[in-house]
């Protein structure tokens, strides 16, 4: 892992890169369906997206090429495949959506790439491999595959490998099914590279990547009497280095850190993170906006970040009583909570991500805005992912929301925000200043250049 430069992420200017196969237009468009997850692999050379239609599209970064100096860093479509199909649960008479909730890459161990993709009920391990050679000159069959007449074979020849056009194949290697009664919201690969966890609303299961017919239940918060249900699991993640440690967040704004060594069923947490409520700002919406939609460990493993409706909080794993930092994402929405409750926007689940050096964090908002916070300089910026504001090689202009009173030029007022344009999924390259932002059915890839 190469730490990125000391330059603050906010001192960079972010400009859009992307292309269609002709290399001319600005953006990579996934017009088919709403993107539901975005994830870089460990090296950052591959970027996977999942959508509502159950498809996975993988982009690959262009290698440096002296003849096309500007092409370094551009992502091209590498592979597309249908990961999940819609299913029907006959017992409950309900459809199971094919929407991909999460994709997580496995660390690369050989030439092939592996990723886990999941919908509400089933997790699949996919192998993505390249084929750029073809065997030719078989003894027993013709070039077109037909078997040769044995009497015609008079000589022995050894097939030789000849280059062919690169073909990228995706094949499902494992299917992990029938382990979740409720909807899967998270998967996380363990640092041991052998196991992973999957979390639904009430339970977390531990799997071994080789074994599909069994999983271990490690967290179960389902009450004996479902009528007493008041809290659900919203996200879970393994610690990046300690293979026995994981965290899970809840709809009540709490995060529990568990150690699998302590007991088989991790019902008792080792650490409990919760910020005490501010009584002065209490309202009927307090609990809803405290519900955590995403939790992510820092790359270092020393911190973790939680996203609730209005803010992002950075926690020190050694301090459970309150977060280290709180960053307001769109505080101007606090006075609009009733409307946002009515139109269901208050239940939107925003994700968050760290940059490679853990010095900056990013999360999405409405109106195709996304926010970046620099932890060192305490500065933040609002940027917009839209075609109008993204010219090739031009920097993104910082945006500002006007909360009241006079609206300055270039500011946008709260009431003009488009709540249908929400950025729920963002990803940051593990090492470089490259970010991927999913805006409904469009994927934007931005590169930061030092000013």
């Amino acid at each position: 892992f190469v730490p990125s430069s000391r330059q603050s992420s906010l001192d960079k200017s972010w400009c859009g890169r992307g292309q269609t196969s002709s290399g001319k237009s600005l953006l990579i468009l996934l017009t088919a369906d709403i993107i539901s997850t975005v994830e870089f692999n460990y090296s950052g050379d591959l970027l996977a997206t999942g959508d509502k239609g159950g498809r996975v599209v993988i982009f690959q970064r262009e290698q440096e090429n002296k003849s096309r100096p500007h092409s370094r860093g551009e992502y091209n479509v590498y592979s597309t495949f249908q990961s999940h199909e819609p299913e029907f649960d006959y017992l409950k008479s309900l459809e199971i959506e094919e929407k991909i909730n999460k994709i997580r890459w496995l660390p690369q161990q050989n030439a092939a790439h592996f990723l886990l993709s999941t919908n509400d009920k089933t997790i699949k391990l996919w192998k993505i491999s390249e084929r750029d050679k073809r065997a030719e000159g078989y003894n027993l069959k013709d070039e077109d595959g037909r078997l040769r007449d044995p009497f015609r074979i008079t000589a022995l020849r050894v097939p030789i490998l000849k280059p062919m056009d690169l073909m990228v194949e995706a094949s499902p290697r494992r299917i992990f099914a029938n382990a979740h009664t409720y909807h899967i919201n998270s998967i996380s690969v363990n640092s041991d590279h052998e196991t992973y966890l999957s979390a639904d609303d009430l339970r977390i299961n531990l799997w071994h990547l080789e074994i599909t017919d069994r999983s271990f239940n490690i967290v179960d918060i389902k009450p004996a009497n479902m009528e007493e249900l008041t809290e659900v699991i919203t996200a879970a993640e393994f610690h990046p280095h300690q293979c026995n440690v994981f965290v899970y967040s809840s709809s009540k704004g709490t995060i529990r850190l568990c150690d699998m060594r302590s007991s088989a069923l991790c019902d008792r947490h080792s650490k409990f993170f919760e910020e005490p409520e501010d009584p002065s700002s209490r309202s009927f919406f307090s609990e809803i906006i405290s519900s955590i939609s995403d939790v992510k460990f820092s790359h270092s493993g020393r911190y973790m970040m939680s996203r609730d409706y209005l803010s992002v909080k950075v926690w020190d794993l050694n301090m459970e009583s309150r977060p280290l930092e709180t960053h307001q994402v769109h505080e101007y929405l606090r006075s609009k909570l009733c409307s946002l409750y009515e139109n269901d926007c208050i239940f939107d689940k925003f994700e968050c991500c760290w940059n490679g050096s853990d010095s900056a964090i990013m999360t999405g908002s409405y109106n195709n805005f996304f926010r970046m916070f620099d932890r060192d300089t305490r500065r933040d910026v609002t940027l917009e992912a839209s075609r109008e504001s993204s010219k090739p090689r031009a920097s993104l202009k910082p945006r500002k929301v006007c909360t009241g009173g006079k609206r300055k030029k270039d500011e946008i007022s709260v009431d003009s925000l488009d709540f249908n344009k929400k950025i729920l999924h963002t990803a940051w390259h593990p090492a470089d200043s490259v970010i991927a932002v999913a805006a409904t059915n469009n994927l934007y890839i931005f590169q930061g250049k030092i000013n």
């Binding site: 199909e85 819609p86 299913e87 029907f88 006959y90 017992l91 409950k92 008479s93 309900l94 459809e95 959506e97 509400d120 009664t181 409720y182 909807h183 609303d201 009430l202 009497n225 479902m226 009528e227 007493e228 249900l229 008041t230 809290e231 659900v232 919203t234 709809s251 009927f284 919406f285 609990e287 809803i288 519900s291 006075s335 609009k336 009733c338 409307s339 409750y341 009515e342 139109n343 269901d344 239940f347 009431d415 003009s416 925000l417 488009d418 709540f419 249908n420 344009k421």
Partner: protein, 241 residues
Amino acid sequence: MFTRGLKRKCVGHEEDMEGALAGLKTVSSYSLQRQSLLDMSLVKLQLCHMLVEPNLCRSVLIANTVRQIQEEMTQDGTWRSVTPQEAGRAPLDRLVSTEILCRSAWEQEGARPAPGLGDGHVQGPVSDLCPVTSAQAPRHPQSGIWELDGPREDRGGFHKSLDQIFETLETKNPGCMEELFSDVDSPYYDLDTVLTGMVGGARPGPCEGLEGLAPATPGPSSSCKSDLGELDHVVEILVET
């Protein structure tokens, strides 16, 4: 004489109006807003997706909100059980007041739905309910949110009349929201129950009846909808007989 009488009546009417207005003011806008929030939350809980399982997290959060409002109303003493005479009247009264509130609340906040969002539906779910009609008798009048209620063509509509929603709320103790989750795990319709209910002595047992109804193994997705249609058809026949 006539004029005086009229005047008196007018004055009386004005006085009544003033009294009513003063009364409205004393009924704080907070409790009106709170009631509106409660109504909205109940509507949200009742609306469920026909074919896809409702989001458990969202339902839990809404139910918790309802519980909080109920608790506060109980503490306030504004939570009172409804007497039979009032039963028919009270919900309508509330409907009127919340409709007024909806308008004023949204105007007060200045929060009109943002462009791109705005359509009539967003403005006032409660006001849409004012003409209370129940489309058809629901099969499970007291069922929780997890039991899909009513046939599929009613997708997105209100299956229960508002009266029933309030009845559910008022006839039970505060904190009865737990019942909403009691049926999460049970299947949509319990075929066993349906069949045993319909079955006379001569008919075969429920299990044998079940085998004849639906394919044992889930077929490919393309046949899902046709299987569903078949099942629907069979269940309807059973219910009618």
